[in-house]
């Protein structure tokens, strides 16, 4: 359960370019559900995701994770929560070039200092699940768009997070690949993970796997539809 209380985010506070991206968001996101954030461009979806995912702090308000207040924690704890609780899937797959798909997948686990052999086994297993076994040793720049995105998904799963956060995951995918992605989301749900997605794509928010749709406009929540 993730709870946001009166969360505000102001960029460039006190400067001429001051901009309020979120103004007083109250929201609770249930565990083990698939929640979708929709809203026009610039409405603050990405900003909200990065606050929930402990990537940035709100200007005001509180964020609680499983009943624990996290907004005031020092960076080290935030990072620790981030890497253990959240797996991120980015719109641009954000893989690191020049190294193999497998290394990319294992990167989030490096700072945890786990033994190499079990880590690699787990990575290979996850890659196999997404039909990437034969691409493990490929450099990421050789991968197709869909493969690259799946590598990004595996990377998000490597530390076995309880919550998956995906920002516009289907923006670069065709219909078929988008359907495949939704299939993966369905599996997450079956594995009792919490999933949070932002999207513009009706294909995503009209899919039956979605439990709840949250609408954002000008940094505020709109009345919920479902």
């Amino acid at each position: 359960m993730i709870e946001l209380v009166n969360v505000r985010k102001v960029f460039n506070a006190g400067r001429p370019a001051e901009f309020t991206a979120l103004s007083g968001v109250n929201l609770s996101i249930e565990s083990n559900k698939v929640t979708v954030l929709i809203g026009p461009s610039g409405s603050g979806k990405t900003t909200l995701l990065s606050i929930i995912g402990c990537m940035s702090r709100p200007t005001a308000g509180r964020v609680q994770l499983a009943g624990r207040e996290i907004t005031s924690l020092p960076e080290r704890f935030l990072t620790d929560i981030r890497r253990k609780t959240f797996g991120f899937i980015f719109q641009q797959h954000n893989l690191i070039k020049g190294i193999t798909a497998l290394e990319n997948v294992m990167l989030p686990a490096y700072p945890l200092g786990e033994r190499h052999v079990p880590l690699k086994q787990r990575a290979m297993k996850l890659m196999e699940d997404l039909h990437l076994s034969d691409k493990a040793e490929s450099k990421v720049e050789w991968l197709s768009g869909g493969e690259a995105q799946r590598v990004g998904i595996v990377r998000a799963l490597i530390n076995n997070p309880s919550t998956i956060i995906a920002d516009e995951p289907t923006a670069h995918l065709d219909t078929q690949l988008s359907h495949r992605f939704l299939g993966i989301v369905k599996r997450f749900k079956e594995e009792r993970k919490t999933v949070l997605i932002t999207t513009h794509d009706p294909l995503v928010y009209d899919d039956p796997v979605i439990d709840r749709i949250i609408r954002l406009r000008d940094g505020r929540l709109e009345v919920e539809r479902r």
Binding site: L49, S56, R83, F88, N94, G98, P108, P111, A156
Partner: protein, 417 residues
């Protein structure tokens, strides 16, 4: 603890592969860095080795030398000076020395001709001369305090023969047993047989040396009996040196006493002048280096910033990023440092500083190819380390720290390749 080690391993691993990914840039960087270390190290090894040799020469020279001046010009010293000086209280021993420079127009080289003292060192104060110490190779320890390997006595040379330094042998392409011709003061050509060539361990000391018998020396230069080049004086108490010097000038107004410490100072200023030139090179190299390090360091490319953003977004902490940058710097610095130092060592001690040759041309005709004794102290290496690795590290810390504080959510806002 085990996790900590694993973590370092992963991060070093990733750092190395990151370095390889930017191969062109990093090889260029490494090459430049190595070159700078190489220049600095060469300069340092070279000046230190030369100073070392100089101090070896001076360690062997007497505490005080007495010359005779005639109208301000150095002249031969009559043996009666010996008695007078010996009569001064505090003087332990006085020896007359016979030596002189000889210019060989055919080879354009200057030799130092020297009559070694008789092996019976104590007596023969009347016509004794400068003792020759030849440095031995094997015993040279890090302190470089090896004593003379052997003393060459005058009786070992014999009339009609000479013992020559290796520089002389090289310039004249002469070998043992061959004849060497000298033009005496009166124009007569005197042949001498080369009896021996001095070992070349310490060439700066003995390179231009020619050891010759007393009678031959006097014949060559036309020196009458009862005259020597100068006097070597030893005293009982070194603190009395200046008192004794002034007593000498009072009793012998023509005499000019020279105290070793004064020579030392002169030598020092010569070498420091060389050192001074080197300092200019040194400081400009350091400066270039700092600028280069700063430039390299402050310019985090967009690609690198993006990568750091991604790493932070997927769960790397600021300290992990700093750790990565630290290993990055450590790998580059240490590689460059080690290869630069090793190259410089080879350059100075095995290739005779070929790179510096143009700068050393003025040294002496005999010296352009002299070999220095390998001498490197921990202190030098440490100084070098602090001159190179530390500025580089400092220059990379700031951007590393800045990079580490890149917001993780920057990875979410990245648009387009």
């Amino acid at each position: 603890m085990r996790e900590w080690i694993e973590k370092q391993k992963y991060i070093i691993d990733f750092t190395l592969s990151s370095l390889l990914r930017r191969k062109a840039k990093n090889i260029g960087l490494l090459a430049l860095y190595t070159l700078i270390v190489f220049i600095l190290a060469s300069v340092m090894f070279f000046t230190h080795a030369i100073k070392k040799e100089a101090s070896l020469i001076l360690d062997q020279s007497p505490e005080m030398i007495v010359q005779k001046l005639v109208a301000g010009r150095q002249d031969l010293v009559p043996l009666r000076f010996v008695e007078t000086v010996r009569g001064i209280r505090g003087v332990q021993a006085v020896r007359g020395r016979l030596w002189g420079y000889y210019f060989d127009p055919r080879f354009g080289a200057n030799y130092t001709l020297l009559v070694p003292p008789p092996t019976a060192q104590t007596g023969a104060a009347g016509n004794g001369s400068r003792r020759v110490m030849v440095e031995g190779e094997p015993d040279r320890n890090a302190e470089g305090s090896a004593g003379p390997l052997f003393d060459l006595g005058a009786d070992e040379i014999g009339v009609g023969s000479v013992v020559i330094g290796s520089g002389v042998a090289r310039v004249r392409e002469a070998g043992t047993g061959e004849l060497m011709l000298f033009r005496a003061y009166d124009g007569e050509i005197l042949p001498f047989r080369i009896k021996k060539i001095l070992p070349s361990s310490s060439q700066l000391v003995s390179s231009d040396l020619i050891l010759i018998d007393e009678a031959d020396f006097k014949r060559l230069f036309g020196i009458a009996d009862g005259l020597v080049t100068d006097l070597a004086v030893t005293v009982r108490n070194p603190t009395e040196l200046s008192t004794i010097a002034s007593k000498i000038t009072r009793r012998l107004p023509d005499a000019r006493p020279i105290i070793r410490d004064e020579i030392l100072r002169t030598y020092d200023s010569i070498f420091n002048w060389r050192g001074g030139m080197m300092i200019v090179i040194l400081s400009s190299a350091v400066l270039a280096f700092v600028i280069f390090a700063w430039d390299k360091a402050s310019g985090l490319s967009a690609g690198e910033r993006r990568e750091i953003g991604i790493l932070k977004a997927i769960g790397w902490e600021s300290s992990d990023i700093i750790l990565m940058k630290f290993w990055d710097g450590a790998v580059v610095s240490l590689t460059a440092f080690l290869s630069g130092v090793i190259l410089a060592y080879g350059h100075v001690f095995f290739t005779d500083s070929v790179v510096f040759e143009p700068a050393l041309k003025g040294w002496s005709t005999l010296y352009p190819r002299f070999k220095l004794i390998p001498f490197v102290s921990a202190e030098q290496v440490t100084t070098l380390f602090f001159l190179t690795v530390v500025p580089y590290s400092v220059a990379t810390i700031v951007p590393a720290w800045r990079a580490a504080t890149i917001d993780p959510d920057s990875a979410m806002r990245y648009t387009g390749e």
